[in-house]
Symmetry: C2
Subunit: 212 residues, 2 copies
């Protein structure tokens, strides 16, 4: 999961670890608290060893100042390689059971603007299926096995059930939007850091789903 997210972010701009973590936290803030350095740095080394990313040399111009006076070391900037981009495309397109779990889905969704529409639909529908199953399980629990559980546990289930129902509705909306060829919600033409349209971004559309 981290691998996918890092590859995705580095596709927008070269970055060093600290920066990467901040961007990661911003982009995935809705689904996970903050990425630990204990995961980030090992993953970076793993990706570098695999050849998906490389260390970029800083100081774009005026190179041969004084090489090691004050020893400006620190801040290892990474950039994605051609193989890395390939790897990202492969990871983003392949859907498995882990794609539909909470974290997996969130990460994939966060990079939907780099995902083709067919894959987007596949993921949204798979996620819906997963949540529907969880919902059914909770309904069964609250129906049949209710007397076996204490009031607090039941309340937890009830709250979880509500969250499931809400998410299914959300997914339905998104799926309908995808099918009708609209952008997700906000008519925000993605003028972000490096918005290359190499991967079929969603067609623009002023029609937003009404959500006041």
């Amino acid at each position: 999961m981290l691998e996918l997210a890092i590859l995705g972010l580095l596709q927008e701009a070269p970055m060093h670890g600290y920066e990467l973590r901040k961007e990661l936290t911003a982009k995935l803030g809705a689904i996970r608290a903050a990425i630990s350095y204990g995961s980030l740095y090992p993953t970076l080394r793993r990706l570098q060893a695999a050849g998906w990313i490389t260390e970029a040399d800083e100081t774009p111009a005026t190179a041969e100042e004084v090489p090691a006076l004050t020893s400006r070391r620190g801040r290892v900037v990474y950039e994605i390689t051609a193989e890395g981009k390939e790897r990202f495309a492969q990871l983003i397109a392949q859907t498995g059971p882990e794609t539909y779990g909470d974290t997996g889905f969130g990460v994939h969704f966060a990079f939907f603007s780099r995902t083709d529409r067919a894959t987007r639909l596949r993921i949204l529908e798979g996620r819906r299926r997963t949540i529907e199953e969880r919902r059914e399980g909770l309904r069964d629990m609250l129906g049949r096995a209710a007397e076996r559980l204490d009031a607090y546990t039941l309340e937890l289930q009830r709250h979880g059930l509500e969250a499931c129902e809400r998410e299914v509705r959300w997914l339905e909306e998104l799926i309908a939007n995808e099918r009708s060829g609209r952008a997700p919600t906000v008519p925000n033409d993605g003028t972000a850091g490096g918005p290359r349209e190499d991967n079929s971004p969603p067609p623009p559309g002023e029609t937003r789903t009404e959500r006041p």
Copy 2:
């Protein structure tokens, strides 16, 4: 987290691994999919090594049949020890930052009927604080840094923000209920497997928060 959950469940009845997993999945179904055996069995061994649990001898009566014909082995039943109960009480009462994370909070909440009211309030308020902070982070993101993110990422944040707001409201309700000395929601007098009232269960009350 698993440690706490296992200790809590074994306090209701002795169980073997498979059964434990099912009960765990039932009780925590709202917050996590299913506990992996790759976590369960090592944890059981860890707990046994620490002396919190022991293997219970099956076959309560009629022991000396034929000892090993068909070799009825398998099904290792565990039961909690006195030290285990102490450990559970200690774990359930101690609150730290990890108590307020998604999983930690869920597990603690699932065992609220074995938690005294002061601790319940502390946990609910800590959780509320945590979610409020996450909510503020998402609001900032959707306000200031909105143009840096693409439409899909924004939609993810928006959905996450809504979930935060909803959970805060839910927590407010629960906190109010706790303060006024009412049971959580359903007027279910907890007649479960072994509902010992050694730990000040919530006072009963027919007044349920209206939620049709």
